[in-house]
């Protein structure tokens, strides 16, 4: 591992029983939720989130703002 992934090897010396499990998202191919989320990711990008939270804001706050 050290030959091909020096960062991983360096990190590994500090990791042990105290660390969290690797923070990977569930990704089982036969999980219907994950399969659907993978499809959604194809259509989405991070900036969509900012637009959405403003779209979901109470209507009285959006009057006259840039976020209608």
């Amino acid at each position: 591992m050290a030959d091909t992934d020096p960062l991983g090897a360096w990190v590994a010396q500090y990791q042990g029983v105290l660390m969290d499990p690797p923070p990977k998202a569930p990704s089982s191919a036969d999980d219907p939720v994950q399969a659907r989320l993978a499809d959604l990711a194809f259509e989405a990008e991070p900036a969509d989130y900012v637009r959405l939270i403003h779209a979901l804001a109470p209507a009285d706050l959006k009057e006259g703002s840039d976020h209608e």
Binding site: Y14, L37, P46, D48, L52, H54
Partner: protein, 473 residues
């Protein structure tokens, strides 16, 4: 008399100062005395400068005597999590690495409180770099829960939660990336608001995970919390992500009650891992809201919520590692072992997974909003899934097997960070060991006002928020 002042709420002491019934100097001296008296047992205060605090208080009194009140918090002494920068003053971030760091800027949140007239009299202990939910800190020591000093204070805003509960301060800024306002509010029996992501500028606040970090107040009551929220919310050119939406006059609707308000009760996920005794306490708070006129509505949470806990962990790990990489490489031994190990996880997170986790926020939120907020105004949830553990049993250095339980602690909080929704946490009773527990009300984006209105109604009909830890009576 001096110690009695500390038992006033923030709202009460602000009113007393405004009326001239109490001076800022008296209130500040009372807080300082209590910090000096109780901190050896609680380890909640990281630093205080009594001379500077009293000088500022006398200045506030002089200004008021001359008819110049700065704002609604004029002369009220507060203290904050040690990650809010004030130019020229050390902001240690609960760490060895930043122990001598004196920033050149003042945070937007502190500037807002300054404009409101509040005094900033102490820096409060916190989890190292805000990365942890129990409150343990290998560097600065673990603050103690005032309800029972053997138990965790909750983190990462540990000193803030303890200080408010123990009446060391009237209110404190915390921060919440995965539950770090809501856990200490829950563990210490106080009130905490995690605002909508981008509602409060993060400029001048220590970053942990900018996509998730939220700045918010911890106080004894909902009304106190509103006073601080209104002082810190709003757009800030220094934080490009801060929202341009106007901040409503929350106080004007605070006492409107909950008659007709639809409160969602989840049928799945959020209670799946909650212990029966905690579930019973949390569900009892629903009865109070219903008796006050709210309509309880069962809602089905979309299955995609299950993934949000892991996505939140992934985003935090990747963003924290990116921020800390140079210190992780140059000064690895200056981190606590748990903090370092958790930061290291992010160094090997695939960039594609990180981007996917962030890209999925919009579609998952859209699905959640359609399932929940098309039916109800707010959602009622637990905060912690179990009774509060002791400091000893949850110390993963001595008890590595507890790590799984710590990860599970975030089941009800981390999804809300991922969705970026506002959440108000309030105490709702005590577990069999005599430690507090709490529920959270979750609202649609930027609708903190409805959460506060419901919270105020709840606290009008209950007295959990008025209970005082025996050590602080």
């Amino acid at each position: 008399m001096s110690d009695d002042l500390c038992q006033l709420s923030l709202s009460e002491v602000a009113t007393a100062i405004a009326r001239g019934e109490v001076s800022s100097e008296e209130a500040t001296a009372a807080s300082l005395a209590r910090m000096e008296q109780m901190n050896p047992a609680l380890n909640a205060v990281q630093h205080l400068d009594p001379d500077a605090a009293l000088t500022a208080a006398r200045q506030a009194d002089t200004e008021q005597a001359a008819g110049n009140r700065r704002g609604p918090l004029h002369g009220v002494p507060l203290a904050h999590k040690d990650m809010y920068y004030r130019a020229g003053r050390i902001s240690g971030c609960g760490s060895k690495i930043r122990a001598d760091f004196a920033p050149e800027v003042t945070s937007f949140a502190l500037q807002g409180l300054d404009r409101a007239g509040a005094l900033d009299i102490a820096r409060l202990n916190m989890v190292e770099f805000a990365l942890g939910v129990t409150g343990h800190n290998e560097i600065t020591g673990t603050p103690r829960n005032p309800w029972n000093t053997d138990y965790i204070p909750g983190g990462s805003s540990s000193g803030a939660g303890v200080s408010v509960a123990a009446r060391l301060t009237y209110g404190a800024l915390g921060s919440d990336t995965g539950g770090s306002i809501r856990f200490p509010a829950c563990c210490n029996g106080v009130t905490g608001m995690k605002p909508t992501w981008s509602r409060v500028s993060r400029a001048g606040a220590m970053p942990l995970s900018p996509s998730l970090d939220c700045v918010g107040p911890i106080t004894r009551t909902v009304r106190d919390n509103v006073l601080m929220f209104e002082a810190i919310a709003g757009q800030d050119p220094r934080d490009a992500t801060s929202s341009p939406l106007p901040v409503p006059d929350v106080l004007s609707t605070l006492d409107n009650g909950v008659k007709g308000l639809k409160v969602g009760v989840p049928e799945n996920y959020f209670y799946d891992e909650v212990t029966p005794e905690i579930a019973a306490l949390v569900r009892a708070s629903l009865d109070v809201l219903e008796a006050a006129g709210a309509e309880l509505v069962a809602v089905t949470i979309p299955e995609s919520i299950v993934s949000t806990n892991a996505y939140t962990s992934l985003i935090i790990a990747a963003e924290a590692a990116a921020i800390h990489q140079h210190w992780l490489q140059d000064r690895p031994d200056d981190y606590g072992t748990q903090t370092r190990a958790r930061m290291m996880n992010g160094l090997t997170t695939a960039a594609s997974r990180y981007i996917q986790a962030r890209s999925l926020r919009a579609p998952i939120l859209a699905e959640f909003a359609a399932a929940v907020f098309d039916k109800v105004d707010i959602l009622h949830l637990p905060v912690m899934i179990t009774a509060i553990p002791t400091i000893a049993e949850s110390d993963t250095a001595a008890n590595p097997g507890f790590m799984e339980a710590i990860i599970a602690m975030g089941l009800c909080t981390r999804p809300i960070n991922y969705l970026g929704l506002p959440a108000l946490t309030m105490p709702c009773g005590f577990d069999p060991a005599g430690l507090p527990t709490a529920f959270q009300l979750v609202g649609r984006p930027f609708d903190e006002a409805t959460l506060y209105r419901a919270g105020a109604a709840y606290q009008r009909d209950t007295d959990w928020h008025d209970r005082v830890p025996p050590i602080a009576g």
